[in-house]
């Protein structure tokens, strides 16, 4: 049924009217502005991290044995991959390949969840293996756990949202013309990816 609703998108029960077009414009702009302010939130914490890091006590701080770059790189690749699959999910939707879309969406969700799992593993390793804690390890623990935790939360929200999208699309909520939800999901997921590009480079590579 969902397939059908894509195939001939502007079916009578889904009129593609001017109101939808204008509303979509508003939502799109609003959502982009929201992403911008969210970006500012991350940037402020990133600024804080770089400021503290350069406040002249040397980096990495003594007592921080190592961050496992190899593992982090592998984990990041999962997230980046999910970004690519999400992109193709949207592409497939636009071209009406419903099943491909669903599969891509599922890949995205799985990869995102995988990334979260990897981060959980890394946290446990740091906390119990290296005795690095959020509050007890000086500015390293503070900035690392705050920023990656914030990002992890964003990923978590994204995974939930994409799952909802999956169910909605299965239930045929969206059609060939009205799929702003999917566009927004893609935007958000790309945003989360890109933030991680920055965090990965400043925490593991810098």
């Amino acid at each position: 049924m969902a397939v059908a609703s894509i195939a001939h998108g502007s079916s009578p029960e889904h009129p593609v009217d001017q109101l939808y077009a204008e509303t979509r414009e508003l939502r799109l702009q609003g959502f982009l502005l929201f992403l911008i302010s969210d970006c500012v939130l991350f940037s402020s914490f990133i600024f804080a991290y770089l400021y503290l890091r350069n406040s002249g006590q040397g980096w990495p701080p003594p007592g921080i044995k190592h961050l496992d770059v190899a593992f982090a790189a592998w984990n990041s690749v999962l997230l980046f991959g999910s970004g690519a699959t999400m992109h193709y999910a949207l592409e497939n939707w636009k071209h009406g390949n419903f099943m491909k879309y669903m599969w891509m969406l599922i890949f995205t969700i799985v990869l995102g969840a995988g990334f979260l799992g990897g981060q959980a593993y890394e946290y446990t390793h740091l906390i119990f293996g290296e005795h690095v804690s959020w509050w007890g390890s000086g500015i390293f623990g503070a900035s690392f756990f705050t920023l990656t935790g914030m990002h992890g939360f964003h990923v978590f929200v994204g995974v939930c949202y994409l799952t909802v999208l999956l169910l909605q699309s299965a239930a045929g909520v969206y059609n060939g013309q009205k799929f702003f939800g999917i566009t927004a999901g893609t935007l958000y997921w790309h945003f989360v990816d890109v933030i991680w590009v920055v965090l990965f480079s400043i925490f593991y590579l810098l």
């Binding site: 496992d68 592998w74 990041s76 980046f80 890109v194």
Partner: protein, 70 residues
């Protein structure tokens, strides 16, 4: 013979990085002409995604990363 998990991770990172990088840049190339606000944003995001993949590869081969790996 004993296999260091780091080796697996690095290979994974490199391989995955290459795939994602190619996909990202290919998608960017394909969407280059698309109009509309969100598509411009998508292109920017894809570009950064590609950059991320490259970084992952470099980290995998050990060219980047100040912390000594395990």
């Amino acid at each position: 013979m004993h296999l260091d998990p780091a080796i697996l991770e690095r290979t994974g990172a490199i391989a995955g990085g290459i795939i994602v990088g190619i996909v990202a840049f290919y998608a960017l190339y394909k969407d280059w002409a698309t109009p509309g606000v969100e598509n411009q944003v998508f292109k920017l995001m894809l570009l950064l995604l590609g950059v991320g993949a490259v970084l992952a590869i470099l980290a995998g081969v050990g060219a980047l990363g100040t912390f000594k790996t395990a």
